[in-house]
């Protein structure tokens, strides 16, 4: 990331200096609905006991938070109960439901706001290969093989040692020629 910053600075280094950046974005991490989204993120990224524990702690924080704008506290409490009972999926549905009012009233995201309204779990690894996948795989293996064979066929014919001999021989010939002329 920093390389990114520095890369730009190096290349665009001549740009003028603008006003210093302000730190606060439009979306703060301690708003009630954002905390619920955080709980959801813990859950979908680790549905095991660790994720559930983190999610539960976050829901606790959300319940204690000052602003509950757009968050259905009753549903949130139910979600906490489901989490304690170990029904992760039910908890997920309840958590998502508890913030529907808040996310429905969001303006289009600007600055560094996420725009996230629905927590989607990481896309699961794709299943068995489709026909297209197989065809593409076959063609790719073929291309890799043909490319490697061609690269070997087109390899330099002379080794470094032979090249060295060529150069020395050429130099000797040049010396003979020039001394011959001088004689």
């Amino acid at each position: 990331m920093a390389a990114a910053a520095i890369g730009t600075l190096m290349v665009l280094g001549s740009l003028t200096i603008a006003s210093p950046a302000r730190a606060d974005g439009g979306q703060s991490a301690d708003e009630g609905y954002v905390m619920v989204l955080q709980a959801l993120s813990f859950l979908v990224n680790d549905p095991g006991p660790d994720g559930t524990a983190q999610a539960l702690a976050m829901v606790g924080d959300a319940l204690e938070a000052e602003g509950h704008d757009g968050v259905d506290v009753l549903m949130l409490e139910q979600a906490a109960a489901s989490l304690r009972a170990g029904s992760t999926e039910e908890a997920q549905t309840l958590l998502q439901g508890s913030i529907s009012e808040a996310v429905d009233s969001l303006e289009p995201a600007v600055g560094d706001e996420t725009g996230t309204t629905v927590m989607l779990a990481p896309l699961p690894p794709r299943g068995a290969l489709s026909v297209t996948d197989w065809v593409f795989l076959g063609l790719s293996v073929l291309a890799a093989a043909v490319g490697i064979v061609l690269a070997v066929l087109f390899r330099p014919t002379e080794s470094l040692r032979e090249l060295g001999h060529d150069i020395s021989a050429a130099r000797d010939r040049a010396t003979v020629a020039s001394t011959g002329k001088e004689a």
Binding site: A3, T114, L120, A169
Partner: protein, 365 residues
Amino acid sequence: MPTELRTSTAVDASDSRTWGRRALDAIDERLGITALAYPVPEHANRFAWTLGGITAISFLLLIGSGIVLAQFYSPMPEDANQSVRAIETEVWAGSLFRGVHFWAAQAMYVGAVLHMIRIFLTGSYKRPREGNWLIGVAMLGLITFALFTGTVLKWDQEGFEALGHNIEIGNLLGGLGFWFSPEFAGRISILLRLYGAHVVIIPGIILVLLVLHLLLVKRHRMSPHPLLPAGTSSEQAAEGEPTQPFTRHIRRLVAFGIALAGILGVLAVLFPAPIGSTPVPGIEITKPPWMFWWPFTLENWFGLSAIVWGELVFFFLLAVLPFVDRGPERWWRRRPVAMGIALVVLAVLTVLTILMAITPAEVHL
């Protein structure tokens, strides 16, 4: 040399060339393709000396696959993650194009680094090629920047956390970091600006620099192989070294390009590019892509500003190298000081990277 323009290939009764030959000559007269057949020293066809070309081929594959992705990607925060999922699951062969793009990006990074290591080992950055080395360093910075912006575009938790770090670094840099501030253009999403950078600004600048880079390679000619007997000038290959037309070099590069495309295709099918959960601010549960691991270990130890210092030192060392190391020796075995320093830098980067690999994600911001 066929570089001179033939003044006329007008119909001539005595012209004994075949129809096909005449057609080719007519095209060549207009496009000057045979001018590419200028002689290059034979050693330029060795694998280590084609790494720059292989990097350029990765760049072409990135542009090709990127154009396809750009048809289906939506740079709006509300929809970006979903549009990437649609590319994976709904667009015909979308997952394959995305996989090729994902792997080609890493191939370009690795290719550029290996190419740089070759230049270093053969002392090819020395006079008169210092300027071209600097252009290379700038391109390496831009490649890193492209990797970063590409990571953010997915708009998943990983990409968003990467962005968070960068915004904080921008704040740390004060006015200099203005471009990374979300408030710089507060009524649009920063994602939109990063998208513009990823698809237009960065590849555009790389392209301009690459043209300069290649023109300079042609102008300075390929540096001499340090293990071959020197010619009258230590800056050029010996006059007696056999040459090959540059088109032969291109022919070998095309072969490598076909192989590389195949390998990336296999990777795309077997190891598709991942996409994580929709982003939320205020938590840190992911790690950045592996090229960014070494500065992140520094951050674990010394805090955010260590990323800036680490990268500054790294790029500073690269940039000053040709101006500090001006000795005539080109072969690495005869340059113990340069090699010693390079080994220390390499060891530090490797250890820092491995440390991040074995450390769980940690909350920093």
